[in-house]
């Protein structure tokens, strides 16, 4: 119970801080919350099932693009609803066709998917509508974006917590351990995976839709930037993708570190980033949380 109270207090505090922040700090908080959302949503599906998806930006970008297309013809809440719906349908189609792919094939497929969607949107815009590059002129302030994104992040983590305690979470874990065992114990493999994938993807799409008013100008080559997918993965893995708070624990330090690096070392940034990436893979194979736990256990073992 005290945990829930703590969480509520934290969220209230987080919601109240924009009034005390400079524009830059607020921008930083938006980025931070966005990546917490993305990493948590990613882990919702991939953390338990161990299907490493690189399709994050396919959904994130679709969300942003939906807003760009619809922002002048529909009121904002409806635009968000549409974005969510599109993400949901897209995830359903993709999920139905691909979730039987295993291991590396799924990884590569999810990477290719983002490219394909980008190419198709480009072709459609060029040949059918004749405009490429759309503008988002919405009266959404940075604070508004922050609050929406915060709400989405809270919802995502709440959903993960809820799923973790129910049948679906258990089923996902069994699938992650061994699909054969899962099938034999009566779990409907494809249905379980599809539900988790669709939930995760819809949230990611919404995150893209919420973040997009900050960019004003949207073009497929700008919104389908594969780095987003990779950053999400590495953040979730750093924290520990199969734990509730893992993605958050990975996203917060990494995001701040990236920002600090790019501000302090604008010229050598990619090299340092790359080395960091490699270091994460080598040093925290199970994620920060597990490493911390193992360390604590060792300490405990020492005293006992």
């Amino acid at each position: 119970m005290s945990r829930i109270a703590l969480a509520v207090v934290t969220v209230v505090l987080l919601a109240a801080i924009p009034g005390y922040l400079s524009d830059y700090s607020l921008g930083l908080m938006i980025g931070l919350v966005t990546y917490v959302t993305l990493a948590s949503a990613w882990a919702l599906f991939s953390g338990h099932t161990r299907y490493v998806s690189l399709a994050t930006v396919a959904f994130y970008g679709s969300g942003a693009y939906t807003v760009a297309v619809l922002n002048e013809s529909l009121p904002y809440p409806l635009v968000l609803l549409c974005a969510g719906l599109i993400g949901f349908l897209l995830a359903l189609i993709v999920g139905l066709s691909t979730l039987r792919l295993a291991g590396i094939y799924f990884v590569i497929f999810s990477f290719g998917l983002a490219e394909l969607i980008r190419q198709l949107i480009t072709w459609y815009e060029v040949n059918v509508t004749g405009t490429l590059g759309r503008y988002i002129f919405l009266d959404v302030t940075a604070r508004g974006i922050y609050w929406q994104m915060l709400a989405l992040a809270v919802f995502t983590i709440g959903l993960s917590a809820w799923i973790g305690r129910h049948r679906l979470g258990l089923a996902l874990k069994v699938i992650g351990d061994d699909e054969m065992v899962a099938a034999h114990s009566g779990i409907d493999l494809s249905r379980t995976k599809l539900i988790a994938f669709t939930l995760s993807s819809t949230i990611i799409t919404l995150a893209g839709a919420i973040a997009s008013p900050r960019w004003t100008y949207v073009e497929p080559s700008l919104v389908f930037n594969p780095t987003v997918s990779f950053l999400t993965v590495i953040m979730a893995l750093l924290g520990g993708a199969n734990r509730l708070w893992g993605p958050l624990m990975g996203a917060v330090p990494l995001f701040l570190l990236f920002e600090w690096l790019s501000v302090s070392f604008p010229d050598t940034y990619p090299v340092i980033l790359g080395l960091m990436f490699i270091a994460v893979v080598f040093l925290f194979p199970q994620g920060l949380l597990s490493s911390a736990e193992a360390f604590r256990n060792r300490l405990k073992g020492g005293t006992a």
Binding site: L28, T122, E219, Y269
Partner: protein, 405 residues
């Protein structure tokens, strides 16, 4: 002054008494606080190439020159050195927006120089407007410039729109057709990107009005690396004029492919990249007669001198389209600061209403836009010279047909 050892300082003091007032005034200069100028441009990612050719070398050249001359002159005649705050936007608009917020609210810089590219400039325009910074959006090509200039009062659009470039090209081709040097067919390809689409949308009606038939009209995706099929089709179309609204790697690829398959149209026009200093090398020394976007008045001593200084500073000559204009925008800033200081409202008013003396000649913005630009240029001799508008100072007549490769 801060790094001087005590003995050097003593010597300086001794000198000061000897030289008297002249030194005293320059000592006062050193005491002025520096002016902070910030920018966030792409050093990595997809935009790094464009920014690395057009934007960053000019910023560096200008800052170096200003500081060597003792800094920016303020209205009261005092000089203040420039201190640069720079960030890498990693070619991501999200990072760019955050960097601008940081420059404005954390670093509190005195002035923000724009990023490279149309999309990035649009992404920061609302922010710059909210913070009140004037935005000299040099490297943005957009037909909606008038609309944007009206929406963000302190934004300045200095590279025209796709429509302008298309109409300029149509004028050049129309004249050649009237003279009977080329037939009425055009083969046109364009990159599937905001820029390519803007140009092609302007070009289709412009060519039609000029009495041309577009015999081949195709779009190719961004990132295409092989143009053999495309160029073969264009060659077969029977057009005397080949027009590509392309990005640098594509412009280069098409030129090489045209050379290797022996495609020799009378007019060979490529998009961005055609005016880059590397182009003569890409075309294996056969750039003569190739047309592209932009151009410079190669006979102008100011431009010649600028090319020399740029080469000395960056190790390569500037590109002949947006580079000179980027540098000119910095000169505008320099002169505006000298006239009205650093107050943003006054600077904005100065940019909108006054005229400036720059390397591209006298500049006066109309409705916050620079309209006195080169729309079409051509490689002649070792320079990429402006063709259209034909009435502009320094314009040269077009060489058509282009010599064979």
């Amino acid at each position: 002054m801060t790094r001087m050892t005590r003995r050097k300082a003593m010597t300086a003091l001794a000198c000061a008494t000897a030289i008297g007032f002249s030194f005293a005034s320059s000592a006062a200069v050193a005491a002025e606080p520096p002016i902070k100028i910030g920018y966030a441009v792409a050093k990595t990612g997809a935009n790094a190439t464009g920014a690395g050719i057009t934007t960053i070398p000019n910023y560096q050249l200008w800052v170096k020159e200003v500081n060597q001359a003792g800094g920016l002159t303020m209205p009261d005649g005092k000089k203040r050195m420039i201190e640069v705050v720079e960030y890498d936007d990693r070619s991501s608009n999200e990072d760019l927006v955050r960097a601008i917020e940081r420059l404005a609210s954390q670093d509190k810089v005195d002035f923000i120089l724009p990023p490279w590219g149309t999309g990035p400039n649009l992404a920061i325009a609302p922010l710059m407007d909210r913070f009140g910074y004037p935005q000299l959006a040099v490297t943005s090509v957009t037909d909606k410039a008038p609309e944007f200039a009206a929406r963000w009062k302190r934004s300045y659009w200095m590279l025209g729109g796709g429509h302008d470039y298309a109409v300029g090209l149509a004028n050049v081709l129309k004249a050649a057709k009237a003279a009977g040097t080329i037939n009425n067919k055009i083969a046109m390809v364009s990159v599937a990107d905001g820029f390519g689409i803007d140009l092609v949308k302007g070009a289709r009606p412009a060519f039609k009005d000029a009495g041309f038939e577009v015999a081949y009209d195709k779009t190719y995706p961004l990132g295409t690396s092989d143009f053999a099929a495309l160029m073969n089709e264009a060659k077969k179309s029977g057009a005397d004029s080949f027009v590509a609204f392309s990005y640098p790697p594509d412009s280069f690829g098409m030129t090489k492919t045209a050379q290797s398959i022996g495609f020799n149209p009378k007019v060979f026009y490529v998009g961005v990249g055609g005016a880059f200093p590397i182009f003569p090398k890409v075309s294996d020394g056969k750039a003569e007669g190739v047309m592209s976007i932009g151009g410079v008045d190669a006979s102008s001593p100011a431009i010649q001198d600028y090319f020399k200084r740029h080469t000395a500073s960056a190790g390569a000559p500037p590109d002949s389209w947006a580079s000179a204009i980027t540098y000119a925008s910095l000169q505008m800033l320099q002169q505006a600061v000298q006239r009205v200081g650093l107050d943003h409202a006054k600077l904005a008013n100065e940019f909108s209403t006054s005229s400036f003396d720059t390397i591209i000649g006298p500049v006066k913005l109309k409705d916050n836009q620079l309209r006195d630009l080169w729309w079409v240029g051509q490689w002649q001799g070792n320079a990429f010279k402006g063709l259209d508008p034909a009435g502009k100072t320094g314009a040269v007549p077009a060489v058509i047909p282009k010599p064979t490769w």
